[in-house]
């Protein structure tokens, strides 16, 4: 299940849930559902009797990861396992022991706002890690525009203003916060370019809605124009929320964008990798959630001109929203997003 509990399905129930999950995504986003061959392939993946499964040889993809080594030394809030390792040691472990294709340096709070005043320390970590490791190294952080609102930040909180009907004030506050966010992302990115990073990962983008996405896209434009960094934009969820509601990018309204529309905006901004996120429904089965995620991701990979790395961590990509992940579903979700969704990476 989407909440991690184990259930038993008959083959007919499995196929019903796969089709239903795909059709739900197709109806909502006005995209094609998975065809019969895709659904049968998904059924094969779920009916595999082994506890874990894997892609066919030759179908392997590139892994990028938000936070990376943070999940080794961090605590419960980041699904961390509390191992006493430094970030540099963690990166080496992920590279050499776990066989990851890329790695990241990231602040423990993993947002641009707290990383900004510590940029010099973050640059030192990047420089040292680049001397030691071989795989490409990103700097990763979340735009996380919610941190710019009171009580955590300087701007009025739209969540306080909107219930009072102060719509224009809420919109103004979002635009002020978005401008500050854009400048902070750019400041950190340029610092990381100076430190020799290979790329920058904007993770969980648009978590605070359309104004956050606008700030992120504008930052991407400027990063691409002024540095040699590769830019990955990973999203927060499948639908961009319209907390502002009136913002556009390239003539397209940002609020209400589905993953294939988000991809077009991210490509137009000049990013190098797009990470669609599809949130798991905890009340549905995992086959239903995986089929739904594959439908959204396939709508991206059909048209993408840049690599698509599907988000497949806790609570997204069909992976259950639960602290300790069932390995059978995690491996099946990843394999499905690659072999049915057509993802270039996870």
């Amino acid at each position: 299940m989407g909440d991690g509990h184990a259930v038993t399905l008959t083959a007919d129930e499995l196929r019903r849930d796969l089709r239903d999950g795909s059709e739900q995504a197709a109806r909502r986003a006005h995209i094609p559902p998975l065809d019969d061959a895709d659904l049968e392939h998904l059924a094969d993946i779920f009916l595999h009797p082994g506890r874990v499964t894997g892609v066919e040889p030759g179908h392997e993809v590139i892994l990028t990861k938000d936070g990376c080594a943070n999940t080794l030394y961090s605590g419960q809030m980041s699904s961390g396992v509390g191992v006493p390792l430094s970030r540099e040691q963690g990166i080496r472990v992920m590279e050499r022991a776990f066989g990851f294709d890329t790695m990241e340096v990231g602040h423990p709070d993993y947002s641009f706002k707290p990383a900004k005043p510590l940029l010099a320390l973050e640059q030192l970590t990047m420089e040292q890690a680049q001397l030691d490791c071989i795989v490409p190294l990103f700097y990763g952080a979340m735009p996380n525009m919610g941190l710019y609102y009171r009580p955590d930040g300087p701007f009025d909180n739209p969540a306080d203003l909107l219930p009072d009907g102060r719509v224009e004030e809420a919109r103004d506050a979002q635009l002020e916060a978005a401008d500050r966010l854009r400048r902070d992302i750019l400041y950190v990115a340029r610092g990381m370019a100076d430190a020799g990073a290979d790329g920058i990962d904007l993770d969980t983008t648009a978590s605070a809605g359309d104004a956050e996405l606008l700030a992120s896209l504008q930052a991407v434009e400027q990063i691409v124009a002024t540095t040699d960094l590769a830019v990955e934009v990973g999203m927060a969820t499948e639908l961009v929320l319209g907390f502002h509601g009136g913002l556009e990018y390239g003539g397209r309204r940002l609020a209400g964008m589905w993953p294939h529309q988000q991809l077009a905006a991210v490509e137009a901004a000049g990013a190098h990798i797009f990470g669609p996120a599809v949130t798991t429904d905890t009340g549905r089965t995992s086959p239903w959630n995986v089929a739904r995620a594959c439908t959204f991701v396939k709508a991206c990979t059909r048209i993408a001109e840049i690599p698509v790395h599907a988000n497949v961590g806790m609570g997204v990509g069909g992976v259950p929203t639960v602290e300790v992940q069932p390995s059978d579903i995690v491996t099946r979700a990843g394999v499905a997003l690659v072999e049915v969704g057509g993802a270039d990476g996870l």
């Binding site: 040889p57 892994l63 999940t71 066989g99 680049q130 995690v330």
Partner: protein
């Protein structure tokens, strides 16, 4: 969870050619194109890129870093200097090193 994905779906990083293909994705190549590019540069087939036995030997021969601890083998940024030349792509930290050591 990370380890699940690495084993089930990942290319294998420096165990195989995952880091090399990743570098081409950073240049906007999608996976089939990136795999083909790296395979051509290495002179192997696309299917060989995730053959850990073959890639272990080839990586040692090309001195682009191996996953085991081998004295004398290129490590870290030294391996990346060789990778930049092999793939014919600039690597940011390598360019910084060249600038700081006044090497071209």
């Amino acid at each position: 969870m990370s380890l699940c994905h690495a084993l089930a779906s990942g290319m294998g990083g420096i165990r195989t050619a995952g880091d090399l293909v990743a570098r081409m994705q950073l240049r906007k190549m999608r996976q089939p194109q990136a795999r083909r590019y790296v395979a051509d540069k290495l002179g192997v087939g696309v299917i060989d890129l995730t053959d850990s036995t073959l890639m272990r030997e080839l990586r040692a021969e090309l001195d682009i870093g191996v996953v085991t601890g081998v004295p004398g083998a290129a490590k870290g940024i030294a391996a990346k200097m060789n990778i930049a030349e092999l793939l014919d792509v600039p690597v940011g930290c390598v360019e910084k090193l060249r600038t700081r050591t006044r090497r071209t």
